[in-house]
């Protein structure tokens, strides 16, 4: 057996929900390889439970075990960056949890929210394009430490007495200000969320985004709208969500 087949056997023992007996037999050291299986799975589970603490608590030990079994067998982590494992797991399993009627309906949203918080804490905000003072005819530059979420439950707040979360549309900017380790969620209205999504995608000026979003929502871009927009922009600038406008190259 060649090196790659030996490594595939070892990997299968570590990742399959039940260790394949043929692979174990070919590896030749049953006890030792089951030790590796336990080490690999424990390390990954600990990381997931650290990054998605609230979600795992809501899901419960049994559901987490079953989900992790499926995750490791079907879509195991491929990232070298250990910190990304919890995010990969969360994004992968949120649709699985959504399809599972035995789990709370808010769990997928809670999971995606925790993924965003975990990820934003580490996003590298040093490398962004050159910025100048915000101008309406230029694309704005958003903080790189920002994730935008459109959820169906208000999961960024404390849970209700029964442990659940209010079911209603909830748009969030999950952001880490420069020189601050604390990640903060800001609740947005639908318009602000749509504007930030357009600006985060890039290449769209303030004016262009306002026209597109106004049109999409059937709203006239009149003096009232512009007044409201200026207030929102000032707030985003103060929070460090908008850094300025893209400088001329």
């Amino acid at each position: 057996m060649g090196l790659v087949d030996q490594q595939r056997n070892a990997q299968a023992v570590c990742l399959r929900s039940e260790p394949p007996q043929q692979a174990l037999a070919q590896l030749g050291d049953r006890r030792g390889w089951l030790v590796y299986r336990e080490m690999v799975r424990t390390r990954l589970r600990d990381e997931v439970e650290l990054g998605l603490r609230r979600s795992c608590r809501v899901a419960g030990q049994q559901a987490v075990t079953q989900t992790l079994d499926r995750y490791l067998e079907q879509v195991p982590p491929r990232t070298r960056l250990f910190r990304e494992v919890a995010c990969h797991f969360g994004r992968t399993v949120a649709p699985w949890w959504k399809a599972d009627a035995s789990l709370p309906a808010y769990l997928p949203d809670l999971c995606l929210y925790e993924v965003a918080v975990w990820e934003v804490a580490d996003l590298d905000d040093r490398n962004h394009p050159e910025v100048v003072e915000l101008a309406f005819d230029r694309p704005p530059v958003l903080s790189p430490a920002l994730r935008l979420l459109a959820l169906g439950h208000v999961v960024h707040t404390q849970p209700a007495a029964d442990g659940g979360y209010t079911a209603e549309p909830c748009f969030l900017a999950v952001h880490r200000p420069a020189d601050d380790r604390m990640v903060q969620p800001w609740r947005l209205n639908r318009l602000s969320y749509d504007l930030l999504c357009l600006w985060q995608a890039g290449g769209v000026s303030v004016t262009q985004a306002v026209q597109r979003v106004g049109q999409a929502h059937g709203l006239p871009v009149d003096a009232t709208f512009v007044d409201g927009l200026c207030t929102v922009l000032a707030d985003f600038i103060e929070k460090g969500i908008i850094l300025g406008s893209l400088g001329a190259r």
Partner: protein, 278 residues
């Protein structure tokens, strides 16, 4: 290029603040796992910058095990190289192991078969890594709890062949030698005495624990045992003035306890190498 001497400690979030605010002259350098810092902002970046202002930094990778069948992707080695050159590290180390195949990453250090094919693979990966990082590359001997297939040679022979054929440096993990000696039944002092001293650029020490079934596990979560201190002294007398790192990744004790371990390592270092900081 930074000069690294004496005793260092692994920079970990859980002990960083205590380390930064302590007065511990025994700490002469720190080691980081670059995967924890590549393309990362926030607190970890701040922590790294604070450490780099104060100590030389050495990098020790966790995921580029040189026994991998697939070469590492440039999407990782490019930012890794940039980080290592920014930090002016004197060398970069990885493990003589594999951590997954077919693009999967198990985030653990799995043993290689002790055979010719694995030697050839490891040597190829080491050369590629040295070329892409433009730095000397050291490999670490891992603790292993199982053989991958039937061994064709001893672990020591396997290690020496890889070192010789790839012209790599060695990060000699003394605790791993001890753990392997216990689990696989060999004399750890003979093992260490067989290693060409000119290959050794760095030493690791850590704690371990023994399971109820007798298997000894390298945990990085326990205090360094007396047997490992003794083996370290033997190693330093053999290898000479090689920097020594205390690894503590889990179950982090009070700073006072860690500091006591660092002081003890420094005493051994000075006694065994004849270096005096006074």
């Amino acid at each position: 290029m930074q000069t690294v001497r004496g005793v260092g400690i692994g920079l970990r979030r859980a002990l960083a603040e205590a380390l930064f605010t302590s007065d511990a002259p025994e700490v002469r350098w720190v080691e980081i796992h670059p995967e924890n810092y590549v393309s990362r902002g926030g607190y970890f970046r701040t922590m790294l910058e604070r450490a780099a202002e104060r100590w030389p930094i050495v990098t020790h990778g966790l995921t580029l095990g040189v026994g991998a069948v697939e070469p590492p992707e440039a999407g990782y080695t490019r930012p890794l190289r940039a980080l290592l050159h920014e930090l002016q590290v004197p060398w970069h180390s990885e493990h003589l192991c594999f951590s997954g195949t077919d693009g999967v990453m198990l985030h653990d250090l799995l043993p290689l078969p002790f055979d010719e094919q694995a030697i050839d693979t490891a040597c190829a990966r080491i050369r590629e890594l040295r070329d892409s990082l433009e730095l000397p590359v050291a490999i670490e001997n891992i603790s292993f709890y199982a053989h991958l297939g039937t061994p064709r040679m001893s672990e020591l022979q396997f290690l020496l062949e890889v070192l010789e054929r790839s012209d790599a440096k060695l990060l000699l993990d003394v605790n791993n030698v001890y753990v392997n000696a216990k689990n696989h039944g060999f004399d750890p002092r003979k093992y260490i005495s067989s290693i060409p001293r000119e290959r050794v650029v760095q030493i690791h020490v850590a704690g371990h624990f023994t399971r109820p079934d007798g298997l000894v596990i390298d945990t990085h979560g326990d205090a360094v045992r007396q047997e490992v201190y003794d083996l370290l002294e033997h190693t330093l007398r053999h290898a000479g003035e090689v920097p020594v790192l205390l690894e503590r990744d889990q179950n982090i004790p009070s700073w006072e306890q860690l500091h006591a371990e660092l002081r003890r390592l420094d005493e051994i270092y000075q006694r065994a190498t004849g270096v005096s900081w006074a």
